[in-house]
Point group: C2
Chain length 343, copies 2
């Protein structure tokens, strides 16, 4: 039920995915009355519908909405994972509510202080880069950033297939003297740890392929991701008007516009690269972009399947246990759940 184009786009994306993956069971969770019309003609045998009478809206307070709406499609999704009926959740809805649902129903993996939302950015020379956190944790401590690095490193190895991911911290300059107390203390922690830590990376290098994992606090991560999106959309507008002013035929214009705009979307729209995984939760969840079309929903489902099959969370349980050797013990009484949900 989530996303700007729901339920049409999520249903159609699920159908595309179910066809491509005949050995995978897909469950559509939501208002039957609104879902079924889209399924009449094209109902794959490996796709079922689970009715849920409520919907979490985009403007609702994330944590409260999950508690107040036990029969919301989002809550029911996570219940299916909790009971073992499903292996992963995909939603194009409110990312804060998805995180809240994951935390309330599934909880965190052991020792994870703050689960994160990760965005997959494409590197210009090929490959991808994981930027986290992009919005779940507005205020962070150094240990949170160090843990984001552990979460991202495991994802890059297990799901992206990078043997030895390079990890960087986003900062206002590459020199060690740059950054804030937060980034400097996080860098000091990461220099003690076993990851392949490369130091600071600047905002201009997001797409440069210099690291597979870039960590930052959720406030900065959100702003940087959205600024990249805004810039790309601005440039797309410039390009369109240049084609128009050059008096090119629509056909020739399209030849130029299509690959560039598609590239643009790859640069900015994480739905195109398979959605944004939530990392550190005791389960698998992927947030698709709110504007996801059926193809983007299908890509997010694929990402969720790959992650569920990757053994990522088993790996993370081991990796997090090893952090005891180099990360200071977690402070009690300031858990992640309350903080994340209050944001």
């Amino acid at each position: 039920m989530g996303g700007d184009l729901a339920p049409a786009a999520p249903v159609e994306g699920a159908v595309l995915f179910a066809r491509e993956q005949p050995d995978v069971q897909v469950v559509l969770v939501g208002d039957e009355q609104r879902i079924l019309p889209f399924l009449r003609r094209t109902w794959p045998v490996n796709l079922s519908v689970r009715h849920a009478s409520e919907v979490v809206g985009m403007d609702e307070q994330a944590g409260a909405s999950i508690r107040k709406k036990p029969d919301s499609s989002l809550k029911v999704c996570f219940d299916l994972v909790r009971t073992g009926e499903a292996a992963a959740v995909v939603s194009a809805g409110h990312s804060g509510a998805v995180m809240a649902g994951a935390l309330l129903v599934l909880g965190r993996l052991p020792r994870v202080e703050r689960p994160a939302i990760a965005a997959l950015l494409p590197a210009l020379e090929g490959g991808r880069c994981l930027l986290l956190d992009v919005g779940a944790n507005i205020q962070c401590r150094p240990s949170h950033l160090a843990q984001f690095a552990v979460l991202g490193d495991a994802y890059a190895r297990r799901v992206m297939g990078v043997a030895r991911p390079r990890v960087a911290i986003l900062s206002n300059g590459e020199e060690e003297s740059k950054g804030t107390p937060l980034t400097r203390e996080a860098a000091a922690l990461l220099r003690q740890g076993p990851l392949h830590f490369r130091g600071y990376l600047e905002g201009k290098d997001l797409f440069s392929g210099q690291a597979e994992v870039i960590v930052t606090d959720g406030f900065t991560g959100n702003l940087v991701l959205k600024a990249a999106e805004g810039t790309a959309l601005a440039v797309a507008g410039l390009l369109r008007s240049a084609v128009y002013k050059a008096g090119l035929s629509e056909k020739l214009g399209a030849v130029l516009l299509k690959p560039t705009l598609a590239g643009l979307r790859r640069v900015v729209d994480y739905a195109e690269v398979g959605g944004a995984p939530l990392l550190g939760i005791a389960g698998v969840a992927v947030v698709a972009h709110g504007r996801s079309n059926p193809k983007a929903v299908k890509n997010a489902l694929k990402a969720a399947l790959t992650t569920a099959r990757s053994g990522l969370n088993d790996e993370l349980v081991r990796d997090m246990a090893l952090t005891e050797e180099w990360l200071p013990p977690r402070r009690r009484g300031k858990g992640a759940t309350g903080q994340a949900l209050s944001e």
Copy 2:
């Protein structure tokens, strides 16, 4: 002597400017031996050279470099302003060193806690938007952000000619509940003040023209500006390869590329829009982009001239005095100079 293309580009830009403004005196400050060869054939009568034997390098610690090099071109520039021989400084060098020089030689305007570096972004629908701080103040208090708003508001009125500038705070969402304690407290201050405060603006809306002044801390501002720059450069690369793959002639390709790439530069390269003004110092200084070509240097000189003639600082002295009514008094012992210089 500053910038990637020095001294050629600064000298040529100064010559262009001096020709356009015959009633303005331009002083080139730096190593005579390196400057004079560029002037032999084209030396406008209103352009002079002041020898300075030292240069502040891009990799030097900003505050220390100004103190250690009293005959550096940058220090001498600010000395000329201090003694009244010059009205404004333009540099394409290290922005931190320019700020340090301004603070050490000229100081701050009364009541200004933290001078800021402002970037001029173009709005897509026309007009411009001032983003500050973009790097001078890595850690900020709420009153700093509120003061940035006062600085930006005065600049927008006096220099940009906007009658009633709209002011916004950069945040991870538009709702009042979003943001950090820093942004929320700054918003509370601005709601009490006389400015036209519009609330929060998201990263995707940088170029949307929804505000003429956007304030943020220097860490976030730097990252957001650099991310926009990195994205635009990434998109320019995509566009070039689309033109190439479409098999278009170079000439036709150029017809399309030129306006788009020029637009791109306007979007990301603040040199093209006249450099980044330092606001809150007791003088006028403009930082041109490190990659500034002669035209960009000329534009920065124009911006400096416009600012010097605008009466901005007289206006700011009045505006800052009025902040006593709505901004809490400045805490003593934590002045801007030491902090800004240590960064």
